[in-house]
């Protein structure tokens, strides 16, 4: 007896091929970028042997050093600020019904996701120019606050998701046992919320570290972060030094995103 050939209802001809092409195209440019960061020659297309020279030259480049330090300071401060205020905002807006003004609140929190970045960038350029004239202060806080603002929705989302999946009864029990609101938050809510907070902070850090447009418009003279430094360099002759800097930034982002993924996976279990 011959068995009829299995008919796969899920198969669509050519789809697997397109998907495969999609994955190859998605990763090929990035892989080439990384490969040529190790090139011994000047070229970004002709391989002349393995070398660390571009990493060394990037490491010794004072402008790159300054930009790296600035990027890290801003990303750290912005993710701390954004995560703290996002935790409070999530506590206020989760596990309650709609309240008066809730549409406005959600609109404001999600604004950085909806408004084209160039518009926000221009808006900050105008506004900060006014504030700079009025106060005379041209320091780093403009960038930190600007970064905090667009990091808020990214920090808010995983925290809110975590809060929504949490069991209210433990907190109610703690409150019944005369725990003060602060004590209940610190001893009961926060330990359960922690994976969401960490995930939010990591996402905010990556988003801040990668930002180009808003930084480019909101910065004062001499406040280059790594991405704005790289944008400035692209006008000149490109050497694999840019590839080396890119590779390091990529590695940081990928590590944090994978960690974020594992964190958010663990909370499902």
């Amino acid at each position: 007896m011959t068995k009829p050939r299995a008919f796969d209802v899920r198969r669509q001809s050519g789809f697997a091929f397109v998907a495969l092409c999609c994955f190859v195209l998605l990763y090929l440019p990035i892989i080439l970028l990384v490969v040529f960061s190790f090139n011994a020659g000047q070229s970004i297309a002709i391989w002349e042997g393995f070398s660390w020279r571009w990493y060394v030259s990037a490491w010794q480049n004072e402008k790159v050093q300054d930009a790296t330090v600035l990027s890290l300071i801003i990303a750290t401060c912005a993710s701390l600020v954004a995560t703290s205020v996002a935790v409070m905002a999530a506590l206020a807006t989760t596990r309650t019904g709609t309240f008066r003004g809730s549409a406005l609140v959600f609109g404001m929190i999600n604004q950085p996701l909806m408004i084209p970045e160039i518009v926000t960038a221009v808006a900050l350029l105008i506004f900060f120019a006014m504030v700079k004239v009025a106060t005379g202060y041209t320091g780093l806080w403009y960038l930190i606050i600007a970064h905090s603002a667009f990091c808020i929705p990214f920090a808010y989302m995983p925290i809110r998701a975590r809060l929504q999946g949490m069991d209210l009864s433990l907190e109610q029990a703690a409150a019944d046992l005369y725990g003060t609101p602060w004590r209940v938050f610190r001893m009961v809510t926060l330990p359960q919320l922690w994976p969401g907070v960490l995930a939010g902070a990591m996402l905010a850090f990556v988003i801040s570290l990668d930002n180009v447009i808003i930084t480019e418009f909101a910065k004062s003279a001499g406040q280059d972060t790594l991405p704005t430094y790289m944008l400035g360099q692209l006008r000149r002759v490109v050497t694999p030094e840019i590839n080396a800097i890119s590779t390091v930034l990529l590695a940081i982002s990928v590590a944090l995103v994978v960690a974020f993924y594992l964190l958010s996976k663990s909370k499902k279990q």
Binding site: F7, V9, R10, R11, S13, F15, V18, A19, C21, C22, F23, L25, L26, Y27, P29, L32, L33, S43, A45, V85, M88, A89, A92, T93, T96, F99, R100, V105, M108, I109, Q111, P112, M114, I115, P116, I118, V119, T120, V122, A123, L124, L125, I126, F127, A146, I152, Y156, D210, I213, F217, M230, L231, L234, S246, L250, S253, V254, V257, V258, Y261
Partner: protein
């Protein structure tokens, strides 16, 4: 104190820090842009605080310097048109590539789907500038494609790909593709494959199944993906700047010009609000269509 009042007060206290930051660095500045679009440009950038609607007229018409006749601002309109055109093409190409990819992932075994989606999303969370730059390195005259083709003897001189509309479109498809795959995959994952089986039992061809069964089922995901790609593409700044090289300007670059060389801040503000308006219309259409879709399923 009644309980409700206390809850409301606690809620607003908790919300205050986030709202203050957003008001200072997002919502507030946006309102100032709206005000600036009705002012007069200063001689060296900035504005003079006299009311004027010139900026809004200048978005679409030009006043001749000598005889005051009005004509369409061709430069602006052609950039508007290019922005819309390239964003639409980007959305279409992203759909053509993204739809089969989402389908491929949705039909993998359950355990491996998350891994495939992670592969799609990892590039998305890496630096936009770096990804654009990676595309640039491949297609530039000294890049891998041209060098390779010349060494193989297929062409004699490099093909100019960088600084063309093709380069900008390719770059935008590359950076925004994950935004198309994600929502389509989300709606495909919930799809009931027994419906497809029923279709085959009724002798439908694969193409007919795709068009009449699968596509209608995942249409909300396709609409969401298209909006998610179209909106950032329309406001793109980095990709056209890096891959278009100052020749293939899009709206984002035109806006920047007004704050740099152009020194016409009110015009830049008016262009920003115009861009924002188009984006809002797109988002509104999306919300409406998502709403009616849900209504139909219930």
């Amino acid at each position: 104190m009644p309980n409700g009042v206390r809850t409301a007060r606690r809620r607003w206290l908790l919300l205050t820090p986030a709202l203050v930051i957003l008001l200072f660095a997002a919502t507030g500045p946006l309102l100032i842009v709206l005000v600036y679009s009705f002012l007069t440009p200063g001689d060296y950038g900035g504005v003079v605080w006299t009311f004027s609607t010139d900026a809004w007229f200048n978005v679409v018409v030009e006043r001749d310097f000598f005889d005051d006749t009005l004509s369409f601002a061709d430069a602006h309109l052609s950039i508007f048109w290019r922005s819309v055109k390239l964003s639409l093409v980007t959305t279409l190409v992203a759909f053509i590539v993204g739809f089969p990819t989402a389908y491929f992932i949705a039909t993998r075994p359950r355990e491996t789907r998350d891994m495939w989606m992670l592969l799609i999303m990892v590039p998305f969370w890496t630096n936009l500038l770096i990804r654009t730059f990676a595309v640039m390195e491949i297609i530039r005259n000294e890049g891998v494609i041209n060098t390779g083709l010349i060494q193989l003897g297929i062409i004699d001189a490099p093909i100019q790909m960088l600084f063309t509309e093709f380069a900008v479109t390719l770059g935008m498809v590359y950076v925004y593709l994950p935004l198309m795959v994600l929502p389509i995959y989300a709606s495909m994952e919930r799809m009931d494959f027994s419906l497809i089986e029923a279709g085959y039992d009724l002798y439908a061809s694969r193409w007919r199944i795709l068009r009449k069964v699968i596509f209608p089922l995942v249409k909300p995901g396709v609409v969401a993906g298209s909006i998610l790609v179209f909106v950032p593409a329309l406001g793109a700044y980095v990709t056209p700047r890096v891959l278009g090289g100052g020749k293939q300007l899009m709206l984002g670059n035109l806006i920047e010009l007004q704050f740099g060389q152009g020194r016409n801040w009110p015009l830049g503000a008016a262009l920003s609000i115009s861009l924002l308006a188009i984006v809002m219309v797109a988002l509104f259409v999306y919300v409406r269509s998502a709403g009616t879709q849900e209504g139909r399923h219930d």
